[in-house]
Symmetry: C3
Subunit: 316 residues, 3 copies
């Protein structure tokens, strides 16, 4: 079995600029079809996918990501079977290894396996033994490459470019896999400047900082959020992930939250992103501000995942 | 976005007699098609629904209600994605608000969202931020409007009318959302008499009693179940909901249970209903009695939900 | 309602040799179609099943078995609705009996109900009240007849015959429903010899031993695994099921494990089977050995279940 020929989606690093451009174009097209409620057009342009099957293996619950993958596949005419919480529900509780689970599922001849797992590196381990493409839908503190792709797509959609921008990532940069994957992708663009703003104990890890240095990305690491960032194009807020062990005080967390006042200080073209779910770091008062793009960003997930499924299944 | 134009299903009060009549006629038609295993007829009369998508967001588990909604949608040719227990499994555990969850799901362009939630008023909150129709599949101690609709449908089906009847609701009237929603709907019919029979601490709440008074429904509130109810047309038994905090003793609960002896005292045309699941308040010896309609009643749920989906999606 | 006319799948005993031969032939055909990714051929030969509906009611989680049933049904063009863990999630927690649950689900007019339950005899109880076919996907320590069928199918596939073979079942024979069901089926073939190898407290139960005696199967019961089994055709390893109460020591368990050394002692035609999931009783070093058939065996599950669905629904 020639695994290397399979189109896995494991980590953000694997995407190059050409690839991303293709995905974004396809996502644009799919969004137009979906927005115009044009089901038959979608099915007509994805004939090869009809009757193919997707297994969605979620070891960690994630309604948002699962729904967007499942709906993406169903819209393309695919069969889908999923588990919501395999960590508790599957043979994992009987001591089965991830490798065995993947090997067994492959014997059912699915066409693609989407997986979310609580351990870093799980997707890569799965890809090593899988006879079908693996799509990483998040692995522990590791990566969440489809999220990174939809983040870049959102920037492109809203700003018209990804080159020549300043992105400030704010909040929990130590535990957030989305900011890690996003940093990898931003490094592929020209003249990108990244400001990492977080409490010291939640700072971006050195491996990413060193990677960005090698890629000549201008990086700034600060332990405050405000003031004086009028030249920022993208604010990427993140949630303090208490479930991954953050023990930051309420007060400290608040320093890295957005407020309507802070938003007023932004230039009008700055966009506000967030991978969601959010707590208080982005108050709901900001939602109606046209600079707030986080719901649009979440919605882009489905279109990017549809495009990725088409690519993975050689229909793009 | 003009939310008011959306056809939400939030509470029983919103249904008027004409609307209910249309739903019942459609449910009759759908039942005939399903009973004759005539799939293609159903699909032919619901062409507009094919390729549309339903998200079923169950924060509280409910196999019965979820299966009937999912199957209803699938029979109509719709795509369906669901969560079994979002309270434990979704971003809710990361502190995401219901409003955010609904906003994100709407960005995936579903055509309808069905939700079951543990908090009263949740469906209304969801409808306020949703860009697609919300169907309330039960919200805490609040309402369960599709259950109320299928209850009325069952009465109509079995008795041939809803006007001029006496309904006795028995058991846990304080915590049961089904009896609340049903009372609202019964009040729309002519010459309906309702007897609320429960332990005092589980009595029907004042808001409903006052509503019924305003609607000129003849109401009787009693704290015993038997004897002497030969003039009753419908006995609507309910389960003591221990999971919602009832602390009634076994002995006290038994006073409000049906027995084969009590059933013998009913006139032959009286029907016995129950929203299910049941415990001992309706012993299984009664199941084979033709007056027992609770399984039929449960089954009516799927047909009513099919009819509602068609209405919500402007196909009826 | 004439239940006796329904084609239930409750226990391995119900299958006779002719029936098994038909299932194996159909499974062979389906595998060829699936392996060649020929969806339309499958749908063309299962026209009667399209639009039919399956409810998969899993009271115990089992990703493997559920995925294979769900995918089997979907490949045949059926609608599917499932629950992953009904024991925790369904009305069962509100005290509903299995019988009531089945009765209600039948009112939704599914065409077949597949169920996995934690109590022995649950499938038979369900079949007694069901108006549609029940397929037992495992009931407690009871039976798992589709597993037994796929086990025999795997032996047939790999050895070319089931008559005239020696099968050694190893490990937890007291708690494993797969070995029980398999023993029943093996007894139907000619000149089969079975060696039961387990720690004494996990020995095969007397009811099976007596059944095999009545069927004139040559049986040997031993409390060691090795050495000297060069005449064995099938080694059927099983996992010590700690979740069902086994309290065997690590050291004792190890005596019944396979090792690469032990495998070297086998004749080249001996095949190694395991119902999976496995722990250490079959080390991964053995996986690449062509005699290891457990992944193939697991995959056979989907094809056998497709064939069974076709039979149950009178399409075979």
């Amino acid at each position: 079995m020639e695994n290397s020929a399979l189109r896995h989606v494991i980590e953000a690093q694997q995407f190059d600029l050409d690839f991303m451009e293709r995905m974004f174009e396809e996502a644009d097209k799919l969004r137009r079809q979906v927005e115009s409620r044009n089901c038959s057009d979608i099915l007509n342009t994805s004939r090869e996918l009809q009757g193919k099957g997707m297994f969605a293996l979620f070891y960690e619950p994630s309604t948002r990501t699962r729904f967007s993958f499942v709906d993406a596949a169903q819209r393309l005419g695919m069969r889908v079977c999923w588990t919501e919480n395999a960590k508790e529900f599957s043979s994992a509780i009987k001591g089965e290894t991830l490798e065995d689970t993947i090997r067994v599922l492959c014997e059912y001849f699915p066409d693609v396996i989407v997986m979310r797992h609580h351990e870093t590196g799980a997707a890569e381990r799965a890809a090593k033994v899988s006879s079908v493409p693996i799509i990483n839908a998040g692995d522990g503190k590791g990566q969440h490459p489809t999220q990174a792709l939809l983040d870049i797509y959102t920037i492109k959609q809203c700003l018209g470019r990804v080159d020549d921008i300043t992105v400030m990532m704010v909040g929990d940069l130590a535990n957030g896999r989305t900011v890690r994957s996003l940093a990898y992708l931003l490094a592929k663009y020209k003249n990108v400047r990244i400001i990492f703003s977080s409490p010291e104990e939640l700072a971006m890890k050195d491996d990413i900082l060193q990677y960005l240095e090698r890629k000549n990305v201008v990086v700034e690491v600060v332990n405050y959020f405000w003031p004086n960032y009028e030249d920022i194009d993208v604010i990427y807020e993140t949630r303090i992930q208490k479930e991954r062990g953050s023990t930051i005080s309420e007060e400290e967390a608040k320093r890295f939250s957005l407020t309507p006042e802070k938003v007023k200080g932004l230039k009008p073209s700055t966009i506000i992103m967030h991978p969601l779910p959010r707590n208080d770091e982005v108050p709901t008062e900001i939602d109606s501000n046209p600079q707030a793009k986080y719901f649009r960003q979440a919605g882009n997930g489905m279109f990017i995942r549809m495009a990725l499924l088409k690519w993975v299944l050689h229909s793009l």
